[in-house]
């Protein structure tokens, strides 16, 4: 049984992560061509699948954000969000290992926005920890 403070912490993390996901998706939803190019630069998907990924991924982010904020299917949303974040961590690590100096595509498609790097990976690791917390400490 959660104490009052545990419940407040739980809700803060849930809503905070939800808003981060929604914020991260907005630019990509309205600039899918640019996002497709960012995905292409990671050089992991065949050229033919890049556009489909650019169309679907931001909507997965925004859907998960909404579900988290409104407390709907929290555990399922947290697991999927965690997998999504973990996948991004691996993707960025792979890009760095291959020497690709590319836009992250995490929160903004602005060319002056953050490039792939350790800071981005560390941020995502913290987010992943948040999702793990939501999965294991949720009673729903």
């Amino acid at each position: 049984m959660k104490t009052r403070w545990e419940k407040i912490l739980f809700d803060l993390i849930r809503i905070g992560l939800g808003f981060i996901f929604i914020y991260a998706s907005i630019d990509k939803i309205f600039n899918p061509a640019t996002f497709a190019k960012v995905i292409y630069h990671y050089r992991v998907l065949p050229v033919e699948l890049v556009n489909l990924a650019a169309i679907i991924m931001p909507w997965l982010e925004i859907s998960l954000g909404i579900f988290l904020i409104f407390g709907i299917w929290i555990r399922a949303s947290a697991i999927l969000s965690g997998l999504f974040t973990f996948f991004f961590i691996i993707l960025m690590g792979s890009a760095m290992a291959r020497g690709l100096n590319i836009e992250c595509g995490c929160f903004s498609l602005n060319p002056e926005a953050a490039l792939v790097g350790w800071r981005r990976i560390i941020e995502d690791v913290f987010m992943l920890a948040g999702f793990v917390y939501l999965v294991f400490y949720n009673g729903k």
């Binding site: 497709a36 556009n51 489909l52 909507w59 100096n101």
Partner: protein, 183 residues
């Protein structure tokens, strides 16, 4: 695992959320003015024995009528590249990252890192569209130079060449190199 961890229910919910996202994304893409084709166009370029797919990112589903016909640039080898360098008859464009450029580049080459620069932000006004341009990358297998060559062609430069072998070949030939951020 917590006692109330119902795997089947959670899996069903994950599938449902994914389904909602896919359906919404596809629907929005169809009605949105920013929508893109589900599969974007690309050209297949042969670089030495490798086939490289160079995508053309269309910003509108209706952009087929404005389809950019990419004419693959002429490929030149290390000797031809060096001849142009020696004569000063070409502008070299380095499509690698800024870090790699800083560590070493062909003297006089302009850094245009294709992976993190928007085509609209490339300032080419000072370059004559008829000027011979030689684009290079790291090695024969990277398609970055081809992508950059396509961008140059879109911007009206018709004398674009692609230097197969790239930076590795230049270094191996022990030709003159520069370091730092200045050409």
């Amino acid at each position: 695992m917590p006692d109330n961890f119902d795997y089947r229910k959670i899996l069903l919910r994950i599938i449902s959320i994914t389904g909602i996202a896919i359906a919404t994304g596809i629907l929005f893409n169809q009605i949105s003015p920013f929508g893109i084709p589900f599969v974007n166009d690309y050209s297949v370029i042969k670089i030495d024995k490798e086939k490289v797919k160079v995508p053309v990112f269309l910003s509108s589903k209706n952009a087929k009528s404005e389809k950019f016909e990419f004419h693959p640039p002429e490929q030149i080898n290390i000797k031809e590249a060096h001849k142009s360098f020696f004569k000063g008859s070409a502008i070299f464009i380095d499509s690698r990252s800024k870090d790699k450029y800083k560590n070493g580049h062909i003297p006089g080459a302009i850094s245009v890192p294709v992976n993190n620069i928007h085509p609209d932000r490339i300032d080419l006004q000072s370059i004559d569209p008829m000027q011979k341009i030689i684009v290079y990358c790291d090695d024969p297998e990277c398609g970055l130079s081809m992508e950059l060559a396509a961008i140059f062609e879109q911007k009206g430069f018709m004398n674009v060449h692609f230097f197969t072998g790239g930076w590795q070949a230049w270094k191996n030939a022990e030709y003159q190199v520069s370091t730092g951020m200045k050409p």
